[in-house]
Amino acid sequence: MALKDITLGQYFPGKTIIHRLDPRTKLIGTVAYIVALFLAANVVTYAILLVLLAALIAISKVGVKSILRGMRPIFIIILITAILNLFFTPGKGEPLVSWWVFTIYVEGIRAAVFMILRIMMLITCTFLLTYTTSPIMLTDGLEKLLSPLKAIRVPIHELAMMMSIALRFIPTLIEETDKIMSAQKARGADFDTGNLIQKAKALVPLLVPLFISAFRRADELAVAMECRCYHGGSGRTRLRQLKMKGMDIVALLLSLAMCVGIGVLAHYGW
């Protein structure tokens, strides 16, 4: 497998209404959805949230396949959580199954199903955010949202700048790793066979050049930024001005309504 195939919160460019929303709206919306998800406690509320999520996926035209693919690494966690919930949720009525130390109550099944749904929906909604928002927009939005913290001397601009630089260089470093690996393989390096210690040793010819090139790039970038008179965030204007539009207000109001609605409904029904 080529390293290039790894997806890391990959952004799928698009022009749907979800893509065009302000990143701040999407960030707040995602948080609101997660809050609602933790408030949800019965079939009705879960159903509403599930339909809502399905609608958002449909509108954003993000393929269900790419969401499932992203879910693969955490499959084991979901499975273990479900099993623990299934067996260790105490119930009031008669147990459904009872064998040795294992007992399953109706409540256990209910808790397990809800837990699976909750984790999967939580992950899907964050995927929806990263799939429809470019990393640069995301950091811009985050910087804006967190800017009040500047009052208590949290270096928000610097943190956001570091984050966008890091995101910018992930593909470059992956490409670089691929290239150095090929070059060392051409000299007979073997990255695949041997025991753990041999494998770790085999990484030296890869890691040394990689670190050197990362430091070189960092140095060059710092010089290039200084040449363009970068001196931190104070008094700095932006190329992309984030602007809340009508649809952002609507989306935020809907998010609020969702949280309140779910919070109320969670107290009624099974």
Partner: protein, 289 residues
Amino acid sequence: MEPIIQTERLSHIYSAGTPFEHGALVDVDFTAYRGEYLGIIGHTGSGKSTLIQHLNGLLKPTSGKVLFEGKDIWESKERTRQIRFQVGLVFQYPEYQLFEETVYKDIAFGPGNMGLDPEEIDRRVRQAAGFVGLKEETLQKSPFELSGGQKRRVAIAGVIAMEPSVLILDEPTAGLDPVGVESILSNIHDYHVAKNATIIIVSHSMEEMARTVDRIVVVNDGKIPFSGAPREVFAHGDELERMGLGVPAMTRVFHRLRAMGVDIDPSVYTIQQARDAILAAMARKEGTV
């Protein structure tokens, strides 16, 4: 001539099965003969780098075959690994792959992986260093305190030390000053002569190509539209121009002269040939007057 590396209907598709899928090579039949000095020329993204990475088994063909001395290089895992020592590949900007504490150790990395005994490794390291003009005292220095040009020499020596029968170099002179270019090219030529090795140089500089190689293979859009001696290839001036490659400036001048009605042989690409062509044209002109 006896072929040493061949590809048969070689195709390569990147990221197959994803939305980012694209074909880099399409049904390529490529041959390099034993002991020849071959140039591969092509635009950025033409597929030339993909092609050379197939020749030593770094990339596996999506379909088609790569043969070394008539046998498939993917026959067994062991064979693929052996091929990497037989077909040495020097990547573009190879100086970024250096990692050892000393120049000596870095050059010894390849031969060490081959499992040779220490005396043989020592002989090869010193000989390879000699080929690229590295001094004895440089061998004990750290590769990171050398200049860019020196680092490149160390990296090339690291591949030469495996004594491959085919040496492939991707843009070996990129980013060097004219003196450096000349010296690296002559180092490569020395290796070619000393070991009767097949040399494959990848470049997009027609001038450099024209002066050094016996035969040129043109790669464009994942295919090989034509190949042949420099003179034959430069005869396709217009097509090369359309591929964004162009012929050497000197050849272009002679093509223009001919278009302007001067009776002159346009297939020249060295100073020597240009002089002869001009003298011949002048002699003809004097004869007619």
